[in-house]
């Protein structure tokens, strides 16, 4: 699985971010992407093969696994990483649009196409709101899908063709739980970073606006 594309994308985003935005990118790289690629993927690699039910009935293990893991944790984790990184692209596109416009009109339309003001500020704020929203959505999804963030050692399954209530054993539940908590903790950290960046930007630019208006009134 090649995540280099996402990495290069986010490096581009870094250029047009505030200080907190850069911290967010570092957290996403180090604590989420790297942990996913270097550690978490291997834990869930053989989860189906290692899922064992106390029954010889063919097909019972399959249906039980499917019932308890409609979407595997690791796939949700990957989806979350992708979805949460994508809104930052809006900012990159907007800056590219500005630069394109300047080229097209052959004159300097913006003092600095990469500076966060005016329309770019709106785009940036929208991307922050989207990122936060998606993080919260995925956390809620994880919670609802797996009844909390626990991974039990033993699950009981009585779906056809299992003839009776069957004990099924999940592999590496402790290790999976450790990394699940890690995922939740880093998600929450990213939500906090996004919210603080949002409030910082809103505060900064409302002060700026207020001062401008104040000076205009004085004049």
């Amino acid at each position: 699985m090649s995540w280099a594309f996402l990495r290069d994308l986010l490096s581009g985003v870094n250029k047009y971010s505030t200080g907190i935005g850069r911290i967010w990118v570092a957290v996403v790289f180090m604590f989420r992407l790297l942990v996913y690629v270097a550690a978490a993927e291997n834990i869930w690699k053989h989860e189906h093969d290692e899922f064992e039910c106390n029954i010889k009935q063919p097909g019972c293990e399959n249906v039980c696994f499917d019932h308890f893991f409609p979407v595997s944790h690791i796939r949700l984790w990957a989806l979350q990483l992708i979805m949460v990184s994508t809104p930052s692209l809006l900012v990159v596109f907007h800056v590219a649009y500005r630069e394109n416009r300047e080229k097209h009109h052959n004159q300097k339309l913006y003092r600095n196409p990469g500076k966060i003001d005016g329309g770019l500020l709106c785009t940036y704020l929208i991307s922050l709101i989207l990122k936060t929203g998606l993080e919260i959505a995925f956390l809620v999804l994880f919670y609802k899908l797996y009844n909390g963030f626990r991974i039990p050692r033993l699950v009981k399954c009585d779906i056809k063709p299992c003839p009776n209530t069957v004990d099924c054993y999940i592999s590496k539940p402790t290790e999976k739980m450790i990394f699940l908590y890690f995922l939740v903790a880093t998600s929450c950290l990213c939500i906090v970073l996004n919210l603080s960046e949002l409030s910082y930007l809103i505060f900064k630019y409302s002060i700026k606006c207020y001062l401008k208006r104040h000076m205009k009134k004085q004049q």
Binding site: L34, E50, N54, R153, K172, E175
Partner: protein, 370 residues
Amino acid sequence: MGEWSFLGDFLEKVHKHSTVVGKVWLTVLFIFRMLVLGTAAESSWGDEQSDFMCDTQQPGCENVCYDKAFPISHVRFWVLQIIFVSTPSLVYMGHAMHTVRMEEKRKMKEAELEAQEKKNAGDTYYQQKCSMVEKEAKLSGWDEAGGQIILRGSLLNTYVYSILIRTAMEVAFIVGQYILYGIFLETLYICQRAPCPHPVNCYVSRPTEKNVFIVFMLAVAVLSLFLSLAELYHLGWKKAKERCSRSYKASPSTAPGRLESAPQAERAQMYTPPPDFNQCLSSPNGKFISPFSNKMASQQNTANFATERVHGQEDAAGEGPFIKSSYVESPEVASECAAPAFPENYFNEKRRFSKASRASSKARSDDLSV
């Protein structure tokens, strides 16, 4: 192994701006930990669960016994260890980059302000000068132009804290590994957990090979810990020595230095006195050690060299024999549209005055200067 390139790229930058011991630590991290983990250890632990055999036919018993024996696999534990141990260096790097950016912004703003003033005055000569100054402010990016980050004040504190936290993390992970698994892995693990009907013999796959890697990774962790402690000692000892020499030499010779820098007092107060480091004695950007005995001569040079520029640091002269000095701009120069560009051979001339550079030839030019 490709996954570690994420971290590797970040740490390359840290490598550029580290002390000598820091560079050795990073090399140890790259080669002996990341590389070994990515190539050898991963394949050794590849079949850890599939070849974990228990002497029972009870379905589910192997699963629960493996989970009990290995709550977290060694390989994942080491991955987390590497990530947590590298993070403080990245925090330091972030701070350093932030400082560089702020410094550049400040210089550009100064240059802009001066250009504005002169523009209003309609003085084209000064406009040219100012535009040159502006260009120079852009070029003074410390890492891009081959310059160095100078460790002092809050940046030095961040560096020290990052090493402290790194040391704490190493200790925590070494202790954690000992608590979880002891030192060596046993071949046989006796497991009693539902649904195993009785205590069951379980056999770990490749225990000897795993033990070799466990001992290796433990040794490398201890080595890294030792290097971190050595770096702390080195920083602390130098700082203490510098303080001693400064308090001993709290002498009249420092008074002129203070007088000259009085207008810079505000700026000076922002920064703590730099510790002494004799690591980087000659550098690409021309900062050099001013031996104490040369202080008076160098102050003369400050006045003579109209090209001296303030780097926003307080007077380094008079701080002791081992400080990298960047001269404080004399007040008269500051009032004009500042300094013109450095002359072509500025850096070479600077090096001539450094006596201390003869003392040590071992430090490399791209080492971090403190």
